[in-house]
Amino acid sequence: MTLLGAALSTSALALVAVLLAAPAALWTAWSIGGARLSLGALRLLAAVPLAALALSVAPSSHAWLLLWAVGAYAPLTLGLLDVRAATDQRQLGAALALGMSPFQAFRHVLLPVTARPVLAMLLGVLARLVGEAGLFLVIGGAPVLGALAWLHGNGAVLALLVVALGWAALAERLDPRTPVQA
């Protein structure tokens, strides 16, 4: 396989991985956000990649794959959780009851209260993108592209799906939301 072919193949795989993992991360964030779990506890997940590095987990092992999947999306998930936590449905309801249009409620209530966590999340995403690009250029792609190459070589895309679905199932189990009362 040529270098270009390998790069294209890796890009396609990356796209598949994003398509699989991003909705799961979004869904998970929404579910756990509803459960109002301790953000502090969830933030510990973001330290998982650092722990992996500290423990020198081999980058080709299943453990690394799991840690990568958690670590890669935990910060994004946490950012979404912060946005969700800042979105107070009662304030939106009060704004609409006050005679605001949905746009006014968005502009004058939702946007100001979520601006900070949205900005923090976007900065996190940007930092991750920059970090990944830097890693790719400097040390050949670890952890994301390295993991994708590992998946490609082992035909183990299914493992990523299992991780994503497992996390989603866990989130569902943790979600104690009750039906809205009439």
Partner: protein, 250 residues
Amino acid sequence: MTALAVERLSAWAGARRLLSDVSLTLEKNRVLAVIGPSGSGKSTFIRCLNRMHELDAGARVAGSVRVHGVEAYAEGIDPIAIRRRVGLVFQQPAVFAHLSIRDNVLVGVRLGHAAPVDADVVVERSLRRAALFDELRDRLDEPATSLSAGERQRLCIARALAVEPEILLLDEPTANLDPVATARIEGLIEELRRSCALVVVTHGMQQAIRISDDTAFLNRGVLVEHGPTTTLFSQPVQLETEEFVTGRFG
């Protein structure tokens, strides 16, 4: 003068019927208490009065609600205009956390009026009507989140009053308040009846007796009985009403 006329009002959430053919009227300067067990449709009822119910996914309303003679559900009527005429204050005081006390009062007025308003006049008048001005006159620029629960609830009432609604709906306004704050809200309701009609959802029988002229008893989405408060509590017509007001269920 009839402030509110409800006729055969029904409401659904998806396929589930929450209200069935509720009909009643409310005169201006009177207070209507809405009582009933949990899940009886009290909150749904008042949310239908200012077209908030339809904001819920799958929600549907049928029947008629006339506000001072204007059909709220008529084709071409802007629901936002109805919500400005019929204010709603929720059980949980939802102050806008990113705004000061002053801006909380003004936000609805500023967004609803094309012409500039005299902000100081509106703030003082609204806070006075909510019996808050003397307490807060030196704290108007502080965040609204610095207030106690009772003060927040009265700030929400002041915010609703700033828009000058013709009818004010209060959904269990004292549910989470201590007796002192509850007494202040009840005193406030007594003051507010001079300028508008009020509909108050309450779980408290004694509170309904204290604050209201008329009472409506809802159960399972049906208006079981409606009439003057003293009559409904002392000589209820329906057995179901008697059982509820005497605490035999609910």
